[in-house]
């Protein structure tokens, strides 16, 4: 009873105090199926929101959907309760957002990985192919068997773009390299199936691959695990995953979803909000290869020089990395 009273009292204090702290924004995030602790794509978004909370003291609400039907509900409920901005993580939210955003023209929305062309929506897409090119280059240089692998999550153009950039990068380093490419599945469940990711990786390793890049969200844990178990190298994605198996993760293709989320929150609170399409590539620091303590022994001076040169060339436009989504085909 007493506890309840204190609980209520504390709650009342927060409710009184909250408007003073967060006068302008009440941000919310809706994650995709992998969940905010997938150590990859969604977790990067989570880190962005946490960083904003730490810097400004503004609390935010988030929601991890359990199935596809919840996307629309979650977005609408946040909008109804006055959350603003609402950031939807993942391309699968696009359909739901197209329905919900026009219903709340005053609310600002943002979506990561997909373009939704509405006046109150900011669409943030990344040039994953550019980052993948760099890790492909590193993979080819690190491979002793001249065979590398790619394990994708769901078979969609976005993931094919990862694969295509990776292939182009690998072939730029070694034109004779052999590349195995597999997808885990064709539904959202493919983001959360580490066992299958592990089996695909084992099958690629059995065929001779010794560096395997994954773009598979939560399933990627299985890919990196299988690579580490076999003493081979994995390549992480979205978040910096070098620390998951130090010494057995060559690098990670970092996608700055965290910055995208952080900026969405910040821009609205500082009255700098702009809707429209943001395309973040190497030049904009939207993608990068992860370079830290955990993989410094794996990256040789030669590799470092090559990857630095390549990233400079991409930014200068000397190397054009093919985007699978431009014509739905991969020439490599």
């Amino acid at each position: 009873m007493l506890r309840q009273f204190f609980g209520a009292a504390a709650l009342a204090t927060i409710m009184v105090a909250a408007p003073a702290l967060a006068a302008e924004v009440k941000p919310a995030v809706v994650y995709d199926l992998g969940g905010k602790n997938d150590q990859s794509f969604n977790q990067s978004a989570f880190h962005g929101a946490e960083a904003y909370k730490k810097d400004t003291g503004t609390d935010y609400r988030d929601f991890e959907i359990q199935n596809d039907t919840q996307r629309e509900q979650a977005l609408r409920r946040f909008a109804e309760r006055g959350y603003d901005p609402i950031v939807a993580i993942g391309f699968s939210q696009a359909e739901a957002l197209k329905k919900v955003a026009p219903e709340f023209p005053e609310t600002k929305f943002a979506i990561v990985d997909m373009v939704v062309d509405l006046p109150n929506v900011r669409s943030i897409v990344f040039k994953e192919h550019e980052g993948s090119f760099l890790v492909g280059l590193l993979a080819a240089k690190a491979s002793k068997t001249a065979k590398v692998g790619f394990v994708g999550g769901m078979d969609i153009p976005l993931i094919r773009a990862f694969a295509c950039g990776y292939k182009q990068g690998a072939k730029a380093a070694n034109p004779d390299i052999e590349i195995y490419e597999n997808m885990i599945g064709t539904t959202g469940a493919a983001w959360n199936d580490p066992v299958k990711g592990g089996e695909l990786t084992k099958s690629q390793i059995d065929r001779g691959a010794d560096v395997i890049y994954h773009a598979a969200g939560g399933s990627g844990a299985g890919v990196l695990q299988a690579a580490a178990d076999a003493g081979k190298l994995g390549i992480g994605v979205d978040s910096n995953q070098n620390g998951l198996h130090p010494g057995n993760v060559l690098t990670s293709m970092v996608k700055r979803v965290d910055t995208a989320v952080y900026n969405a929150f910040k821009d609205l609170s500082s009255d700098n909000w702009s809707s429209g399409i943001y395309v973040l590539g190497l030049a904009e620091n939207g993608v990068a290869w992860a370079d830290d303590e955990n993989n410094k022994d794996l990256i040789t001076a030669d590799m470092r020089a090559a990857v630095d040169q390549a990233s400079k060339d991409i930014i200068d436009g000397k190397i054009v990395v093919h985007d699978y989504r431009a014509d739905n085909s991969c020439p490599f």
Binding site: D155, N192, S203
Partner: protein, 323 residues
Amino acid sequence: MDFLQTLILTTDSAVRLSVPLLFACLAGLYSERSGVVDIGLEGKMLGGAFAAGCVAAITGSAWLGLLAAILVSIGLALVHGYASITQRGNQIVSGVAINFVASGLTALLGQAWFGRGGKTPQLPNTARFTEITLPFAEPMRNVPVIGRIYSDIISGHSLLVYAAFIAIPLTWWILYRTRFGLRLRAVGENPGAVDTAGISVAWMRYRAVIIAGILCGFAGAYLSIAQSAGFSKDMTAGKGFIALAALVFAKWKPLNALGACFLFGFLDAVAIRMQGTALPVVGEVPVQAMQALPYILTVILLAGFIGKSIPPKADGVPYTKER
């Protein structure tokens, strides 16, 4: 790549993939042979996988993880037993309830204890059942055919894989060569006769349900601390139901169960392996078609090729003693 190599590696992968099905299928076999329908295999496996993941993460011991998996799974099995044997409740409802409880509770407790969205911490190799190489695997490799089969398919699995394949003949022996097995089969066909012989029907069924719990514990531990390195939400992904289908497929017989589970595992392995490889004549088959293959074949085989599959006569019927 040569055909033999592909076949050997696919079979190797099939062995790994069929293990959880084997354990769960045998669990269902004990339970259903005694007359208790067990649709809760999935839930018990999931509970076991979670317990194994937690305990292995905290203690750093794979064996304690396995023990915890078995205990939790037996606990869930006893709930099912109490509802369907003692209280004579509907066995399907009780089983479905166990599946729901396991699915919700593992995610909830996982989130509350570890705060990683229902996942348990990633395990180091010392806290897992890692792959073991059988003696002479390396020198045997050069012997034609048999050497490859021994060193690539039979050797190089975790301890639990061997346990699963030992469990098959053991189950056969228990079922057909022991007094307990005879009574177990009898209690599923005609519990009245067993009761007349002065044997407790309830106690027989409880023992069967407990054995099912132990086997599901093994299946769960295999998933979370042998095949992967930690529990993740809903990681059983319907394997309990596939095992149940395999049980029907196998006509409730242990040796058939081996065949059925291995077939499912093999189809899964083929689907994974064939992805993205060009086949003769047809060329590259789309991923979707390959992934649907196990299910299509299951339907075809179930519909036409295995003949009539008759369950134990008293399966699913609670026993009421006449007074």
